[in-house]
Symmetry: C2
Subunit: 340 residues, 2 copies
């Protein structure tokens, strides 16, 4: 193994001190043109690459971002196979990379709190997607670094936030169905939790219903895990109960599962039952059912989260930042107009 080229070698080659090399690397002003040129030349000819660990140790900046995504349970694989997370991560990775950061993705494990990872790797910041137990947030604050929460309604002023208006999403989706003449609309949603998105979407569903003079009924709300299996399992219920003409699934992945099971049982979409999704996952393109859905920019969410995070890190911003991304109905063909 050849010896590593260090800042010392560069300093020697350029005939300056290591301090000066460090200064030109970090663009400190008030360096003479000549010095800058010499140092940069030396860096090039020696192919110097900085050692981030050393830099991290000395400056307390790692240029490393943590990314937390949900996992089924602690000490289990992450939910990479959920396309929602993949698309989100794609936006995160790309934005981080373009800004000179790397990301470390990981889950929560029993034996190691996320706070430990923050300290261990000296993370500059972290983006957290989804909902976690209260204790998670509470502990995380101790890390004393910039944190942006995505898809969480946790109102703690310490955390920055990137989100969409989920209540509005639930509202426009339901309203759309109602305008197409539907009055018996089932809601398939993730588990409703205090600060989670499902609750908001459900609230929007309810508002649209009541606005149209349709009674909201708890029995029409079906909660389950945000996975296609949940959609599949619900097929029988949807067919046999309450004569539903439409289903609003608050996640495409659930809508897709339901659609598949429904078709397997001989039903047609939208002729026999209408379907509305939420997300507009890119894999929707692979599905035969042309799913009408509430489109949100998942990739853009990742992008926005990282941009916000980096801005907070570099400007040492402590005031709570918040951004709400736009959403809209994407009309395909899974909803039938049954209004006379």
């Amino acid at each position: 193994m050849e010896k590593r080229v260090t800042i010392k070698d560069v300093a020697h080659e350029a005939g300056v001190s290591t301090a000066t090399v460090s200064y030109v690397i970090h663009g400190k002003e008030s360096l003479s043109e000549e010095t800058i040129r010499r140092v940069n030349d030396a860096i090039r000819t020696l192919k110097y690459v900085p050692h981030m660990s050393a830099r991290s140790l000395a400056s307390n900046r790692s240029h490393l971002l943590g990314v937390v995504i949900p996992q089924t349970e602690p000490n289990r694989p992450l939910m990479f196979d959920n396309p929602f997370y993949s698309e989100f991560l794609s936006g995160v990775e790309y934005t981080a990379r373009m800004n000179g950061y790397h990301m470390i993705i990981s889950g929560e494990d029993m034996d190691e709190s996320y706070l430990e990872i923050c300290k261990k790797r000296n993370l500059d910041g972290v983006v957290v997607l989804g909902m976690y137990p209260d204790e998670f947030y509470y502990t995380l604050k101790e890390a004393n670094i910039s944190i942006v929460l995505v898809d969480s309604y946790c109102q703690d002023g310490y955390f920055h936030s990137v989100q969409i208006d989920d209540e509005h999403g639930g509202y426009i989706a339901t309203k759309y169905l109602i305008e197409k003449g539907h009055r018996k609309i089932a809601l398939l949603t993730g588990h409703i939790q205090k600060d989670g998105v499902s609750r908001r979407r459900c609230l929007g569903y309810r508002r649209a219903l009541e606005e149209a003079g349709i009674a909201f009924n708890d029995h029409d709300v079906y909660q389950g895990p945000v996975e296609h299996e949940f959609g599949m399992e619900m097929a029988d219920t949807i067919i046999h109960k309450n004569s539903y003409t439409a289903v609003f699934a608050t996640a495409d992945i659930v809508a897709i599962g339901l659609s598949k099971a429904l078709k397997a049982k001989g039903l047609r979409i939208p002729e026999d039952i209408s379907l509305m999704g939420f997300d507009d996952l890119s894999i929707t393109e692979l599905i035969d059912t042309p799913l009408t859905t509430v489109k949100q920019g998942i990739y853009q969410k990742g992008e926005a989260a990282v941009n916000m995070l980096i801005e907070c890190i570099e400007k040492k911003e402590t005031n709570r930042q918040e951004i709400t991304l736009p959403i809209h109905i994407l009309e395909r063909a899974s909803v039938k107009d049954i209004a006379q």
Copy 2:
């Protein structure tokens, strides 16, 4: 920001030197029970978390693994939305995490060779999925760390390897179709490159054909990007040319795209045309077409790659390691038996 708890604090609390603390952390033998107990107690009460950057700097071990996956082009997002990569990454992340490593995923950029990332982050090893320009491998060797290649037939003795028998996969898939009476079989494959998997799968296809006395014809081989769009675009060709009764797509994602386009044009699978895939992507479950395919363990590939990598890192193994994972036909219902 509270001051960080360091090994010094632990040493002080336990009444020993920092060297001793370091020794018990790394399980050096020949420590008195008493010392070990005192140090561990101190670690616990102080909630000491090691600073990996410092450790990395001092010991030249970062416990950081690099993961390279393909991207459409340099300076672009990675192909997270391709389910193949997601599943692979899931295996990689989980295995790394369970072994006390973190992973850094990144692509190749114009302005930064992967070698620079290795040096910058002081990576302990890297797993490389897929094919890259020769120069990539050439440069990477300079990093002088353990590297395992996945799905590459690069025979350079420096690189360890995890793979499947792609020729065999192509062979059994084609043979299966032939046994079901098919003789006009189109092959949809990724671009055929020297050390790539596509070439091998194509070779297997050819062998099965010739073994059955069917002439291999270059015109039946269609190369394109491994994306569902490619499958969709091929629908017309498949329908109108050479009266194919079956298609073997060397990637599920392509088969899924083709299937969708075929159905949109009114064809039925397998009644009108039979379809064989490759991979067994987990999203196949979401598709209405019950795709018969060559199943490989994608998650397991990631797992095997990391296990091999960590073993090489920790045992300083330099002899080339190689493992070939099993594959088999997974029979669903996209192939029709047309043999009399």
